[in-house]
Amino acid sequence: MKKAASHIDYNNAVISIRDLEKSFGDYHVLRGIDLDIFQGENLVVLGRSGTGKSVLIKLISGLLRPDKGSISVLGNDVLALSDKQLQELRIRIGFSFQNSALYDSMTVRKNLEFPLVRNRKGIGRAEINKSVETVLDAVGLSQTINQMPSELSGGQRKRIGIARTLILNPEIMMYDEPTAGLDPITCIEINELINEVQERYRTSSIIITHDLTCAKSTGDRIAMLLDGQFQRVGTFDEVFDTDDERVKPFFDYNFIQ
């Protein structure tokens, strides 16, 4: 079980979602969800594939627009922001994609520099190099600086993807399936990295997963998304202390098998 982070402020919500709905054609993915993510906490969103977990963080970051409801991020109403304001807000949010989404045509160094040089006007070469080295050191992959993404393993790609988001010192991190497709040892390393990021960069995070080991290791709170709504929200033990047949199979599959 994860040790609670020291800097969580449960009186200060960095993300507030109210009555959020999203459909794709006739398929209602999210059916009026409410959620708060507090300053400094790691919130894990659990749910079956196709239940709208990834859609949720794409809505929060403004990549998708909801059909109904409100999303407030760091005090900004995401749906009311202009393109420029949304771009400024996104700099304060780190987004780690399921498949890392590293830029294939660029080396690791160029991948890391890409958001930095475009968002910090007038930044010098020395400062860029220092920032790149710092984040690579934070994810433990300094030796890969001149490698191409195709030369990296799955776990290394995930780490570099996280490093690329950290280079802008985000206040909020969003991880989309951080351990999907990785071996158990690498999963443990990624879980530790998520906790290190929380402590070192004082971030608030949303972690989308269906891996209960990841949820247990990284989540201060767990939110279980079922049938388009958050059915259970609480600590890991609170969420799984239930006879709900929709929730039990998650626990049984991960910890009994």
Binding site: L63, I91, F95, P115, R118, N119
Partner: protein
């Protein structure tokens, strides 16, 4: 399962599939118009991605160089060879250099260059941006506060618009070289006589017309390739479709533009 009221693809009315395809094609053309407007809105506003433009120029220009060279040379040789019998019937083989130069400089050079570039460069752009879309690389740029349209689309369109005229000029010279070698071998025409005949029928307006064509073709190849890739979806199938559509739509537009430019230039003669 009750299928009453539903229509399977096999049961569709004859021609409905064709109608859908034609409709989709023109809807695509309409959307490319909107995409072009966005290009003009963003391309000339700082910050400018000069380094990426240079890199894309290298991709477009240098990487198609060998194919363009070979094709240009063959076009020159073949066109000269095929035109000879017709001219010799009238005892007019001395007009061969003039005929070849009119055909190459006014029509073939920009058109051949554009068609090759549509196949090689346009499909490459469609596939590259398409795969970036389906692997969420474009989303990753967007959420990191950068402008993917400016970095990916504007740079590629500017690169093709700049490079296709240069490649067309190069193709014209190589095709004329092929024509000269053929004429020199068969008729023994000297280099100076050939060159004097080549430029004699070509006026300022002809050079400008070819240049305008090449610029318009280059822009079309870039914008269509980028549009198809940028709006690609449905995984790897979508990437293939984007690459394919980038070629088909660009070629269609190139022929339409060719007709329009020739017609418009005719009014100024």
């Amino acid at each position: 399962m009750d299928t009453a009221g539903t229509t399977t693809p096999q049961q569709q009315k004859p021609g409905s599939k064709l109608k859908k395809r034609v409709t989709d094609f023109f809807v695509d053309l309409y959307k490319i118009g909107g995409f072009t407007a966005r290009f003009f809105k963003e391309a000339f506003v700082p910050p400018f991605e000069f380094r990426e433009i240079v890199r894309q120029c290298f991709e477009v220009g240098v990487k198609s160089f060998s194919l363009i060279t070979l094709t240009g040379f063959i076009v020159g040789v073949i066109f000269t060879k095929q035109s000879r019998p017709s001219l010799s019937e009238f005892g007019a083989t001395s007009w061969l250099p003039s005929l070849v130069s009119i055909a190459i400089l006014k029509a073939l050079a920009p058109l051949v260059t554009a068609l090759i570039a549509a196949g090689k460069v346009g499909s490459g752009i469609g596939a590259e941006l398409g795969s970036m879309r389906v692997t969420e690389q474009i989303d990753a740029m967007e959420v990191s506060g950068t402008k993917p349209f400016k970095f990916l689309v504007c740079t590629r369109v500017i690169a093709t618009t700049l490079c296709i005229p240069l490649l067309a000029t190069y193709v014209a010279l190589i095709a004329l070289l092929g024509a000269f070698l053929n004429v020199n071998t068969n008729e023994g025409t000297s280099y100076s006589a050939f060159m004097s005949d080549v430029f004699e029928p070509i006026g300022f307006i002809d050079i400008n017309q070819s240049l305008v064509k090449a610029i318009v073709f280059g822009f079309t190849i870039g914008i269509v390739g980028c549009y198809q890739g940028y709006h690609s979806n449905k995984g790897t199938e979508g990437v293939g479709k984007a690459a394919n559509n980038a070629v088909v739509i660009a070629m269609f537009l190139i022929f339409i533009e060719e007709i329009l430019i020739v017609q418009i230039t005719g009014w100024f003669r």
